[in-house]
Symmetry: C2
Subunit: 100 residues, 2 copies
């Protein structure tokens, strides 16, 4: 599964957002989300395979940590578009400056 697809699923984005607060066990994620335990587990598997999270076994807990690097692929893809629309905004600014 591509990083793009991994991130297309709202629950998976929510998991990543939660992990931005810091490492968290699978159970803690389940508590914080409105989704069944198997559901969360399955999404965690997808995120693992996309390289977006890393697991550390701690006792019987699995502690998950954010691994944001693969997101760079999306950032890189977006880059030319950002330039596009900022140049458009520049044009708009320019236009407004000339026609107040």
């Amino acid at each position: 599964m591509s990083v793009f697809s991994a991130v297309a699923e709202p629950h998976r984005r929510q998991i990543l957002d939660l992990l931005r607060e810091g490492e968290m066990s699978a159970g803690e994620l389940v508590e914080r989300m409105d989704l069944s335990q198997p559901g969360v587990s399955k999404h965690l598997k997808a995120l693992r395979e996309a390289g977006l999270v890393a697991v550390r076994v701690h006792g019987r807990r699995r502690v998950y940590a954010l691994e944001p690097e693969p997101l760079e692929e999306i950032v890189d893809w977006l880059e030319p578009y950002r330039m596009l629309w900022s140049s458009r905004l520049d044009r708009l600014e320019h236009h407004l400056r000339e026609n107040p």
Copy 2:
């Protein structure tokens, strides 16, 4: 369909990439892509509904233009992650790993 899902499909990303070169008719897009005409047309519909492209009717042609603004939602979502990995110097590591 969310912007995230719209962009998750490789053919749709390809369409957007092509449109970065400038406006283009549907037929021109079909010529440039390895996908049937109906296939391209369906993806164009999805992109229209996501607000990522705009159509202009010109004779019997439909001329499509890039409308990059909705991508900002993705950029905004990514922003905290960019800060995360730049603060952790993951970005530098990544860069050094690829350019030793």
